[in-house]
């Protein structure tokens, strides 16, 4: 069953600038879909329309079968939103801010439970203005989870978090996915998308330029082998040499190419210092896309 359906979405700002241009994707129930992209690619502009904050200039958006803008009252009780930049009154305590939010919801979790989920129980009586940036992000996540949402929107949820909190947040998101929650994530941490997302789309200048599972997106890009060849040796494979003399080989068949290279080195007694072989990662795919599009 489809939780989120976005078709040919275009968003135009008052000055006429098109932040989103004909974007389409769909997210199944219980799936995590990640929107990646450079800054200004249109991720947040897209997500805001899906959240129902704004009406699309063109195209259509359905969340749980409803129009999130026109049928806000139907959709909102079933979704949770963590904005990229959301605020709480600085002079409320964590507990008060959470209670206020709970008071606006149809069927909230207990406040203590929500704070425990994001490891903020021990900060309950602290004023929001005294929280660190990472703690504020976690409070925002607690509020997004407070209404026991079926669909969760996370706009850069781990920005500003220390590595441990980030891991904890990932674990929490994984647990939610197992419970059947649908998640639409935007992030500029590629490893976050690689670790969590079932499918993803990469945006650039308002368009989706690649979409699919992590491996589908990544497989379109070559693996790399790099090493420092001894001077004056003719290599058996096509390689780019950088200024330091380091050779990089790009291949779509990593195993075969690596085998040829190692067999050749063995036969000729050549040392390949600093040898490094890796499958294409999301990061490489991402950088290649950004370069191509630039």
């Amino acid at each position: 069953m489809t939780a989120i359906e976005v078709r040919e979405l275009t968003r135009r700002y008052s000055g006429g600038f098109e932040a989103v241009r004909g974007v389409s994707f769909s997210v199944e129930r219980g799936e995590m879909f990640a929107l990646l992209g450079t800054n200004g690619a249109g991720k947040t502009s897209t997500v805001e329309v899906v959240e129902g904050l704004s009406r699309p200039a063109e195209g259509s958006v359905r969340v749980l079968g409803h129009d999130p803008y026109g049928e806000r009252a139907v959709v909102r009780p079933r979704v949770g939103v963590m904005l990229q930049e959301g605020g709480f009154p600085p002079d409320l305590t964590v507990d008060e801010a959470t209670r206020m939010w709970a008071g606006t919801l149809t069927s909230p979790r207990p406040v203590d439970e929500a704070l425990a989920l994001v490891d903020l129980s021990h900060r309950a009586s602290v004023r929001v203005k005294q929280l660190s940036g990472g703690e504020r992000r976690r409070l925002d996540l607690a509020l997004a989870l407070l209404g026991k949402p079926e669909v969760l929107f996370l706009d850069e949820p781990t920005t500003g978090l220390d590595p441990e909190s980030r891991r904890n947040t990932w674990e929490l998101i994984r647990a939610l996915l197992l419970e059947g929650v649908t998640v639409l994530l935007t992030t500029h941490y590629l490893e976050e998308a690689q670790a969590l997302a079932d499918r993803l789309a990469i945006m650039h200048r308002g368009r989706i330029v690649a979409q699919g599972t992590v491996s589908e997106v990544v497989d379109a890009y070559p693996s790399r082998i790099s090493f420092m060849p001894p001077a004056g040796v003719a290599l058996p494979v096509v390689a780019d040499l950088d200024v330091s003399g380091r050779a990089t080989v790009r291949t779509n068949d990593l195993q075969q190419t690596l085998h040829e290279l190692l067999a050749w080195a063995h036969r000729n007694d050549v040392a390949l210092s600093g040898l490094d072989a890796r499958s294409a990662s999301l990061e490489e795919a991402f950088l290649a896309i950004a370069e191509e599009a630039a």
């Binding site: 959240e51 129902g52 904050l53 806000r72 009252a73 909102r76 009780p77 939103v81 904005l83 930049e85 959301g86 605020g87 709480f88 009154p89 600085p90 002079d91 409320l92 008060e96 801010a97 209670r99 206020m100 939010w101 709970a102 008071g103 606006t104 919801l105 149809t106 925002d140 509020l143 209404g147 929107f153």
Partner: protein, 235 residues
């Protein structure tokens, strides 16, 4: 009511905001000795003080509240929740409205007792004036907040409405002392019909015209809020 959750939080913030607390609670108390020494007909004074509470406690306070919550990104956060837009604005308005009603009750009680203001013969016009005034000035505050970049700027951006209402609505001096050509225009200010209705609570006076003017302001205010109110910070 869901908006009450926001109202309760706003009330806590109000108690923690020293400036707002001083302006809303201490300043009116300082007025008491002045009021006590008055030896005149109390009714115009009561009417004027209610008008003053509408302009300062409702309008001015709410301009700063709306701007502060917008700049803190609180409005933006609330807007992705379950509350409707009117509920968010209502919730944020509750403490200011409560303070204004408290000020009015205090002023009326003190001045009423000292000068012997009679019990209003048509109290429903007073109720209509107070409720209508609160609605119109809360709407105007929301509109003004859209044109106010920072909390500090609220002192400037609220000035036109504050001055026009205090000077031009027959609060400080009767409109009849002003040039005749000006009077019909001043009757269209948002506070004038409120004061007319309040006066009508005690003595016979026209009510149809003020009710119409107040209704028009409500419609215009609602339209302007829908058209211009900003939920995101001005950047």
């Amino acid at each position: 009511m869901r908006a009450v959750a926001v109202g309760q939080a706003e009330l806590k913030l109000f108690w923690r905001n020293k400036t707002a607390l001083f302006n809303s609670l201490v300043l009116p108390l300082l007025l008491i000795p002045v009021l006590v020494s008055i030896d005149a007909d109390g009714t115009p004074l009561v009417v004027g003080l209610i008008g003053f509470a509408l302009v300062m406690a409702v309008y001015y306070n709410l301009v700063t509240t709306f701007v502060a919550r917008r700049e803190e990104l609180v409005l933006k956060r609330l807007r992705v929740g379950e509350l409707t837009d009117p509920e968010i604005l209502l919730g944020a308005s509750l403490p200011s409205v409560a303070v204004a009603l408290g000020q009015m009750a205090l002023f009326v009680a003190i001045v009423g007792v000292i000068t012997g203001v009679s019990v209003p013969s048509r109290p429903w016009f007073i109720l209509l004036g107070v409720v209508g005034g609160i609605v119109v000035f809360a709407l105007l505050a929301a509109v003004s907040s859209a044109f106010t970049r920072t909390v500090e700027m609220a002192q400037v951006t609220s000035l036109p409405v504050v001055m026009a209402c205090i000077l031009g609505s027959g609060m400080m001096f009767p409109l009849s002392v002003l040039p005749e050509g000006l009077q019909p225009v001043l009757r269209l200010l948002p506070l004038t019909p409120v004061l007319d209705l309040l006066r009508a609570g005690w003595q016979d006076g026209p009510v149809l015209r003020p009710v119409i003017v107040l209704a028009v302001w409500t419609v215009l205010g609602t339209y302007a809020v829908r058209r211009w109110f900003r939920w995101d910070p001005r950047r």
